[in-house]
Amino acid sequence: MKMKTVREISSNSINNVTSTEMPVHSRILEKLILVFALLISGSALLLGVFSLSLNNLESFPVPAFGILAIFLLSLFFYLRYVKGKKDWKLIIFCGLSFGALTLLRILPEYLYGLNINGIIHRSFVSALLLISIGLPSFCFALFYFLGATPKANDLSHYPVIILPILLMLVAYGIIIVRVFQNGAPNINWHMLITPYRWQDFQQETWQNNWPQWVAQSIHQTGIRNYILGTLLLMALTSIISLPIGISVGIYITEYSSGLLANIIKVSCNVLKSISVFILGLTAVSLVTYASGTFLSKIFDGSFVDANGNSHLANGSFFTAAVIISLLIIPIIARATEEGIRSIPSNLKEGSTALGATHQYTLFHILLPWSFPNIITGLILGCAEAAGSLATIWFISGTGEFGVSPLRPVTSLAYFIYLCRGDFSLSFKKIEGIWQFSAALILIVITVGLSITALILKRKLSQRQRGAQ
């Protein structure tokens, strides 16, 4: 009997604590404390995020820390005496926010010294403190707000994951919006169809049977040659890299799986992760080696200036395409490999069972099946080629002497660099306002290609799912 009563008493005491039998005012108090803790820690977090770039929020962090500390303390005592639960983390963060409060009171507005090349504003420190204390407090508040269940434990960790993602997406958004803001108003039709030319030359005229040379100059500004150069670079690169990439993919999967295939695979991986700077150096060396030999017209490129003299350039579109295709071959090879490996085995076996040779299967079953994969890889590679600057950095020209495979290489990316780098002030003044327009066009090209590749990939996966 005694045992039973003890059990009853204990069960009663537990029931008192659970919220179902709690008095109404206590439940309201609980919700109130939790909602305020959530609000305060959330606003502290927001304040920290905003003071990463704003300087005039300096009067807020100190009271924010004070209120946060008070609410964390009250939450701790509430849990301790009403729910009978000790959460020492709350006390630790309460102490931390008191420490941050005092630190911010002590700090002067500007920090400098130790020979550091900068004058750090106090709000940077307060932003870091607010984020690093506000985020965990927000998680604790969310945890108790959702009822302190295991599921609440999962949900309360979402802010830790979502905050960095949001910050980063906002950063990307800022970049894209700023490119649109600065670039879109300056785009006009005239600029798009006018090629850039900046040439001074002597024009020969005949007066009274005597030749006379008159100094002439053509000063046109526009970005047609850069856009055409980008397109030509993409086309040439895909022409060079497509057969090599496809054959690498086929050879690895279909013909050999031994040492040679491994060597090819490893070298493709190395090419993929090799520095673009090394490829740029290789381009320079290629041009240097070729100059003076019979290959100089092909690799160095040549142009005819306005006086009619022929010059050797620093590098042709062909050279640039060869170098950039080294970046793209691994992408196409990987795509081909994936396409061939994804073929349902019954298709391949059916072909073999009907008496088709290996070659026939390859050309009539495997390649058509992996064709969309190859196109996806090619499109991604084209996006890479359009945006790649480091590979053509050291060999580019302005492209004012025409755009064709054996002329000096140029592209939109190089135009943006020309506007950024302080080459000649005249150039910068006239075309400098167009750097954002060029960036916008470049982004539209590359991102458009990426989106096309993504859509194609999605269509592809649907088809494959349908086949299986």
């Binding site: 400098y112 020979n115 090349n117 004058i119 240097t288 945006g387 480091a390 950095w393």
Partner: protein, 316 residues
């Protein structure tokens, strides 16, 4: 008969000829780097190359090719950019693979795919925006009147610093790194995760105790690829940080601009224009390229060793 049989194999031979081309190219690239860097080693010597003295592009002293500052700059840039890129990419990977919020988690990969299309020159161009939003108000003493600026801390040129370069570089790396992390987390066997969930542990606990340790070797190899990308980029670091610079003092001053190896090499090779190009400078650039390749190789070997250790601990 033999010839006929050989003739039937013509696609094999054609594919072999094309497929061997990347290998030949790779060997030629490495050979070219080694051969071209001989001149610099002969004239400047290893003691001159591995020194801290570097001649600025516009200074009168020429022929000083010390690359110790460049190596230190590479280290600093990797530190800053990976310090930002790894947590954010990890968060993105966890968000899209582990915590399936219906459409948001599925939307992560396409967003990353679109963002990876943005070329690096655009980030270099838009670094000015981040200088205006973050660097100027926080680190330059923008509110101070010119007379009150303390002497040791001069106003830094607002749009060039290692910190800004690292931030812009991290924005280039994240769309590349996050899908790799995502794949690594998805490669964890489903049976393990489901067993953990069935035994009553929450998703966060499963992530911490099951998914993360098992994906660790994949995560490390993905980070090594990210580090290689950070090391290899030249456009952003060249335009945002600079081409040639001395060693910073104090060493960890990321508010100064310390040019990494790639952009130093680009400076040697005429990053400021074609006029500065000379055989010796080109050769020094090739030497930095060779050093870059060796460093990349060392990192890959270290990662392979680390991976083997983790694979032993968590097989499967």
């Amino acid at each position: 008969m033999q010839i006929k049989k050989k003739l039937k194999e013509w696609p094999r031979i054609i594919f072999l000829v094309f497929a061997i081309l990347p290998v030949i190219f790779l060997i030629l690239i490495m050979l070219n780097l080694v051969l071209n860097s001989r001149t610099a080693i002969h004239t400047v010597g290893f003691s001159g190359l591995f020194s801290t003295r570097i001649s600025g592009v516009f200074s009168t002293a020429q022929g000083l090719f010390g690359i110790i500052p460049a190596i230190w700059g590479t280290f600093l840039v990797i530190l800053v950019s990976m310090g930002i890129a790894i947590p954010v990419s990890l968060a993105m990977a966890i968000f899209s693979s582990e915590f399936n919020l219906r459409f948001l988690g599925k939307g992560m990969r396409p967003i990353l795919g679109i963002l990876s299309g943005i070329p690096s020159i655009v980030y270099a161009l838009m670094s000015v925006v981040f200088a205006q939003l973050f660097i100027i108000p926080k680190f330059t003493g923008a509110g101070l009147s010119p007379g009150k600026i303390p002497i040791p801390a001069q106003r830094l040129p607002f749009n060039t610093s290692t910190l800004l370069g690292g931030i812009m570089l991290s924005m280039l790396i994240i769309p590349f790194l996050a899908p790799l992390f995502d794949d690594a987390l998805r490669d964890v066997p489903h049976s393990l995760k489901e067993a953990s969930l069935a035994l009553g542990s929450g998703r966060w606990y499963t992530l911490k105790k099951i998914s993360f340790p098992h994906a660790l070797s994949g995560l490390i190899s993905a980070s090594s690829l990210g580090i290689l990308k950070a090391m290899g980029d030249v456009v952003i670091v060249g335009l945002v940080i600079g081409f040639e610079s001395p060693l910073p003092n104090p060493l960890f001053d990321i508010l100064k601009s310390t040019a990494p190896l790639t952009s130093t090499g680009a400076g040697f090779s005429g990053g400021f224009g074609q006029s500065l190009r000379s055989p010796l400078r080109d050769s020094a650039a090739n030497f930095t390229g060779l050093l870059l390749l060796i460093l990349a190789f060392i990192i890959l070997v270290l990662v392979a060793v680390l991976q083997r250790r983790f694979k032993k601990r968590y097989p499967g």
